[in-house]
Each structure stands twice: as structure tokens, then as C-alpha cells.
Symmetry: C2
Subunit: 231 residues, 2 copies
Amino acid sequence: MATDEEAPQRPKRLTRAESKARTRELLLDAAAETFARKGYAGASVEEIAESAGFSIGALYSNFGGKQELFLALLESRASDRIAEAAQLIDGRQPDGTAAAGLGKLLIETADEDVAFESLRAEFWLYAVRNPESMATFAERVGESRDALTGVIARLLEGQGRGTDYPLQSISTVVIALFHGLVQLRRIDPGFVSEDLFERTLACLFTEATMTGVQLPGPSAEQSGSGENADD
Amino acid sequence: MATDEEAPQRPKRLTRAESKARTRELLLDAAAETFARKGYAGASVEEIAESAGFSIGALYSNFGGKQELFLALLESRASDRIAEAAQLIDGRQPDGTAAAGLGKLLIETADEDVAFESLRAEFWLYAVRNPESMATFAERVGESRDALTGVIARLLEGQGRGTDYPLQSISTVVIALFHGLVQLRRIDPGFVSEDLFERTLACLFTEATMTGVQLPGPSAEQSGSGENADD
DNA sequence: GTCTATATTTTGATAGAC
DNA sequence: GTCTATCAAAATATAGAC
């Protein structure tokens, strides 16, 4: 008989590496939930580990520590759902469907997925306080903005008007407005009616198409990801 | 001779109550700075007290503890500078001065006053995680929005168009956009050009005046401060 | 690779001197 | 009213068993 160190590559269960990778993912899931609920400083590694169904030792076996775990989360999970959702919308009818879809996304995010905006706020605060990690966060945000820019470009194209100059400015405004309104609606739903985002987007896009995209920012060019002024 | 317990009401130096009030204010200042820099959970009462030039005991003599100190800060310092600035702008020329002034405020806030948006993020996260304090935060935000609404009303009035229906929606959008853009510019100044806010505001106001304020939200009415959906 | 037990440090909060 | 000294709890991180 061969020892069990030679052949068991078949899916008898899980490879050692696969098992470790799964543990890593479960720990990242638990970390996302716990950091969102308690904050970076307020969450303990013990709570994260237990919430994932593991011990502290398992966490330290997979990550260097609390900070490294948070940074791994920042790198792997800091992309913005507004860009993902916009890409799903991409290819739809060129009428108001897109704005309506984003409006619905905002209400769902504010009312149901409490963790999302909290975790993003934690990412932002951590990056502001630890400038060496800001580049990573900026990268993720930039990717999301670029994805959204592409969607908006095809959208305006479908409406038959200019798609050139300051589209990145438009997507920046959309992202800023999205997060700002999500936060305000969590403060008080009465502040942000269910159709406020959709209506504002319609206003922005109308102005964009009517003036040939003349609204925000043809003066100063937008770089893909500029330098940070922190460190 | 009269004992020194009877007459010394004259401004020999500071009354006992005045001295205590001054200590309170200094502690609140230090708390604002420290909570902004380290976060609620990350800041220690020792650091706050020392930063104010007092001992831990003095802090506990003036506040019930860390949580009570933070809540006192939330109640006394959570108003929004965008509303204050708008009121300063109030009464100016009815041309683009207002939008330009707010645009300048955004760049200054993002680039120079790091603590402001960080502390607001801490207020938001604390209130999201401690729903019993959300009403207080919502009150401050509502006051700021109402102040801004008044300024916008007089502004549009000066431009000669409708000032009635959804002005609160407009100020809500302005506030959301302000904070969203401040956050994005701190992530990467290249994301938010210096005139993006001003241009977007001009777009919104133009649309507002041209359509007779038809843009956001004539369908759902906005209550002054509605109920929170948390507790 | 994961768990249990523990060393070390730090924190919020309190007691008593002045 | 403020300071100094200190307690008790909780946290990060590590060491060694399995």
C-alpha cells in the first residue's frame, strides 16, 4: 500500500492548500462583518476568529495579525458595488432605466445592507489615518469609477450625444452622491426620498446631453490615479 | 474680616463654575481632535486628557466617561460647516458667487482640515452602531440642512425663479455631494478637480431655475426630521 | 494547519490625597 | 476641582500540544 502522502490528489475531500484557502476566505468574510459592526479598533481578533468558526491561532496562522487582516480585506473587498451594479445595468434600454436601477440600489443599500457603507467608512478612515494604505484604497475606488465611466459612456452614446470629455467627472459625482445619500438616508430616511437619487441623476444626465457634456470639469483634466498629498 | 467665601464675586480671576466650564471646553476640544485622529475606539481617555493638559481624573470629574464625553461632543459640535458657510455667503450677489464659495470650501475642507470629515465619519459610524444616539445626530444634520435650504431659497429667489417645492431635496443633495466629494478628494485629489463641486452645483441650480425647480423630489414630501428605522 | 493556554500591554474606570 | 496611584478587564500576539 502506498502511504497517504503520494497519490490522494483526487477530490477525496480538500487539498491542504484548498482547505487553507477556504479558511482564509471564511476569515475574511467574518472580518468584513465584524469590522463593519464594531470598527477596526473596536473589533477584536478573537471575535473575528470565533465568528468564522475558528480559533485565534488559526487567524494568526493565515494572517500576520489584525492589521494585516484588515489590509487583506481592503485589497480584496474594497471595490464599489455601484460600479458592479452599473455594469449589470449596462446594455439595457437607453431610457431612464439606468437611473431608476441606481436609485433602487441606493435605497436597498441604505435600508438593508447596513454593513456595506459602514465598512467603506472604516476603509476610508483607516486609509486617512494610515496614508501608506491610501494608494491601495485609491486603486480600488479608481477601478470602480472607471467601470462606471464606461457604463455612462455607452449610456449617453445610446442617447445620441457627446461621450467624450469629462465623463470621469460625471462618474465621480455619481459615486460621491451615492455614498453621501446612503449615509444621509441612514441618518434619517426622511432626508432622502426613494426617488431623490434617480431624479438627481436624471437632472445631471439631461444637462449632460443637452449641453453636450459641458457640466463638470472640462478645465482641469482628471488623472487616472494621481498622487496622494499625505506621505 | 469677611471670609473669602462671601464676597469674591468680582473678576479676581475665574469663578469656580467658570473654571470648570473652561476645563470642559478644553476637554471637548481635545476630544474632537483626538477622536478625529484615532477614532472612538482607538482614542484613549488618557490621551484626550493629556492632550487637553489635564489628568484622567479631571476628565472623569467633568464627564461620566468616554462614551458620555463623545456624546457631549456629538451634541455640541456635530453641526455642519457647509450650512455655516452658506449662511456667511447669504446676502451676496445672486450670481455664481455662492457656488464658487462652496466649491472653495470643499477644497479647503478636503485638503486642509483633515479632522472635520474624519470626525463626522466617526459621528456617523457611532450613531449607526448605537441607534439610541442617532436622533441627536439627525437633529444636528437636520438643522444644517434647514439652514442651507434657507440660503438656497433666497439665492433662487434672487435669480427670479420658483422657490417653493423641493428645496429641502436640493439642499440634501448639496450636502450629500459635499461630503461625498470631500471623501473622494482625500482618497485622491485627482478624483475631484478644484471646480467640480462648483460646476455640478451650477448644473443643479441651472436645471432648478430653468425647469422651475422640477428636478428632485416633488413626489415624496420631506419631513423635517422623520423617524429612524433603527430602534 | 488548527487549537489551547498564557505572557504582556493597554485600557476604562475608581479611590483617596491635596 | 484636579491629580496620583491603582485595580480589574480586555486586547494582541505567541508558544507549544495535537
